[in-house]
Subunit: 337 residues, 2 copies
C-alpha cells in the first residue's frame, strides 16, 4: 500500500510542516528533499496518503498537513529518537546536581525540561507507594500535639500533626517511636498497614489510645498522599502556539491534578518513551496537543513519570530525546542522594 517513497514523502511533509508551520505543497517538497522524482509524481503519492488518512489539506488549493494518524506513523516508523549533544548532557547533569532536596530536584527538573524542549514540562513526584520507609519520627510540639514525620528512601518527607487523646511523656513517645521504626524500617509503603496491624498489642494499655491515634493518622497520610503531586512549568511556551481549541482549555487542564495524572498515563512498556498524539489523548481539552512521557526511577524500580506537552505539530525526535535524557539523569540523581 505505502511503498518506500510514499513513506519518505510523509516523513518530509512532517519535517517541513513542523519547522515551517505552513501546509507543504508538492513543489517545495521536491526542492527541499532530493526525492529524485517530479512534483507531479509527488502529487500522486500525496493523493494516496490523503486517501489513507495520513495527511489532509486545510482547504483546496493549499498544501498538505499531517493528521494525527500521520504523526503516529512518523513516530512509530519514520523517525528515531534524537540523542542530545554532549554539551546538553553536561549542562543537564551539572544543573541537576546542584539540587539539595527532593523539592529542589523536582523543581529543577521541570524547569530544565521546559527550557530544553521549549514546551510545557510536567513532572510527577516520586511515588510514595513504591518507596520504602527509611525513618519515622515523632516530635512533641505541644501538650496534646505530636508531629509525625515520615521519611522515605527516595528522600520524600511527609509530615502531619496528630491530636493525641492523652498527655504524653517523653518516655512513652520514645517507646512508640522505637516500636514504629523496628516495625517499619525498610518496609514498602504499601505494606505499612499490615506491618503495623499488631502494633497496638505491643504497647502498654495506657499508651494504647495514643498509639491508635498515631496509627490512624499514619495510615491516613499514606492514603491521601497516594494521589501524587504533580508540577508543571513552561506555560509561557504555549503562548505563541495557535491551538485549534482555545488556549484556555489547555491551561485549565494543566492546573487540574487529576487531568495531569491521566495525561502522563500508564507506565509504559519498559523504559521507552511513550507518545500520545492529539485525539489519542484521554482528555477533552487536550485534543490538539501531544504528550511525550517517560518513566523515571532508580535502577529498575519505576518511581514516577515525567514528560512534556505541546502542540501536535512538534519536533518529536528532539522532544523524545530530551525527555529520555532528563528521565535518566533524574533517576541517577535520586539514586545518588
Amino acid at each position: 500500500m505505502l511503498d518506500d517513497r510514499k513513506l519518505a514523502v510523509l516523513r518530509a511533509i512532517v519535517e517541513d510542516y513542523v519547522s515551517t508551520n505552513e501546509p507543504v505543497g508538492s513543489k517545495s517538497l521536491v526542492e527541499g528533499h532530493n526525492l529524485g522524482v517530479s512534483s507531479a509524481t509527488i502529487r500522486n503519492d500525496m493523493a494516496v496518503l490523503e486517501q489513507e488518512g495520513y495527511i489532509t489539506q486545510p482547504h483546496t488549493s493549499a498544501g498538505r498537513v499531517p493528521t494525527d494518524k500521520g504523526y503516529r506513523l512518523f513516530v512509530d516508523r519514520l523517525s528515531t529518537i534524537k540523542p542530545l549533544s554532549s554539551a546538553e548532557r553536561r549542562a543537564i547533569e551539572t544543573f541537576l546536581n546542584g539540587a539539595y532536596d527532593l523539592d529542589d530536584v523536582v523543581g529543577r527538573t521541570v524547569r530544565l525540561l521546559a527550557q530544553l524542549t521549549r514546551q510545557v514540562a510536567v513532572v510527577q513526584y516520586p511515588s510514595l507507594t513504591r518507596s520504602t520507609v527509611r525513618h519515622v519520627e515523632l516530635v512533641p510540639v505541644a501538650a496534646h500535639r505530636l508531629l509525625l514525620v515520615l521519611i522515605t528512601n527516595t528522600g520524600r518527607v511527609e509530615q502531619r500533626v496528630i491530636e493525641t487523646p492523652a498527655q504524653l511523656t517523653e518516655e512513652s513517645i520514645g517507646h512508640l517511636r522505637a516500636l514504629l521504626n523496628t516495625c517499619l524500617d525498610g518496609c514498602g509503603l504499601g505494606e505499612v498497614p499490615t506491618a503495623v496491624a499488631d502494633l497496638p498489642e505491643k504497647v502498654g494499655a495506657d499508651e494504647r489510645p495514643v498509639a491508635a491515634s498515631v496509627l490512624s493518622v499514619l495510615l491516613e497520610t499514606l492514603v491521601e498522599k497516594h494521589e501524587e503531586k504533580i508540577v508543571f512549568a513552561g506555560a509561557a511556551n504555549l503562548a505563541h502556539v495557535d491551538f485549534s481549541q482555545s488556549l484556555r482549555d489547555v491551561l485549565e487542564a494543566l492546573e487540574e491534578q487529576v487531568v495531569l495524572m491521566r495525561l502522563l498515563g500508564e507506565t509504559g512498556d519498559s523504559s521507552t518513551v511513550t507518545v500520545r498524539i492529539g485525539t489519542e489523548n484521554p482528555d477533552e481539552g487536550l485534543r490538539s496537543t501531544s504528550v511525550v512521557a517517560a518513566d523515571y526511577g532508580v535502577g529498575d524500580l519505576t518511581l514516577a513519570r515525567l514528560g512534556v506537552l505541546g502542540p501536535t505539530r512538534m519536533d518529536y525526535p528532539g522532544t523524545m530525546g530530551a525527555v529520555r535524557a532528563v528521565a535518566r539523569y533524574v533517576g541517577q540523581i535520586l539514586a545518588g542522594s
Copy 2:
C-alpha cells in the same frame, strides 16, 4: 479642577468599561447612569478629563477608556472595597478549614482566590524569618548522614540532609538534639545565628566536628530559604484577556520567583489592601496588568503576602474585597493550627 460631576463621570466610565470592555461614549453614559445632564455636557467633562490624563480615546470617533492614572484615582477616591456576601464568606471558611497541612493551606488558598476573582492568584508562603522555632529534630538516616528537620510555629517544615564527618551514636545525636532545642525553642529565625554561636563550646570535643557541620547546614537553610516560595494558580483566566503586550510575557513573569516577589511588593501600610496599576508595576512584562495584594498573618504579626494579578481593566472593588477576605481567613486558619 475636577468637580463632583466630573468625578462621577470618571467613575461611570471606569465601571462601564470594566463591565463591557468597550470604549464608552457620552451617549451611553447619560443613558446608563442618571447624571441629570445632557450628553453634550458630559462631552465637555470628558474633554477635561482627557486633558488631565485620566481617560483617553483609542482613536477619534471612539469612546473613552480610562488610563492608569484614571484607574488610580478611581481606586483611591471613587470606590470602596466591596465586601463579600455572607454565602461567599462561609464558602471560603469551610473550604480553607478542610486543609491539613501548610502546603495544603497555601494550595487551597491560591486556588480559592483564583476562582473567587477569576484572575491569577499569587500566594507567598509564610515567611521563615518572622517565624519562631518550635522544634528541631535530628534523624539518622545512614552511617554518615543525618536529616535535619526544622519546624516553625507557622507549621512550616524544612528538611535538609547533612553529611557528617564522623560516625554517630544514638547518644551523641540525642545530646545534640537536646542542646539545639534548648538553645532555639521559641527563638525567632532571624536570631538563630546568634543563639547558636556559642553552641560548639557546650559539646564534648569529639562531637564538635559533627556539631559544626549540623550548624553550618542549619544556617545555610535559613539563608537559602529566605527567598520565599511563591505559588500561583488560575493562569487559565488570562487566556481570554487581550493584553496590549503578549500573553507570553505575562506567563513568563509568573514563572519567575523573583518577579513574583517584586510583584507582591513591600508590605503595605498596616493591614490595607494595596493596588498597583499598569505602569506602576516594577516589571517590564507586566505593564498592562494590575496587582491587588495584601498582607496576611496571625494577630498583628505579618507573615507574608498574597494577591491577584489581572488586566488593568479589572473590577477593583470586588477584587480588593476578595483579597482582603481571603487574607483574613488564611490568617485565622494559620493561627488555629
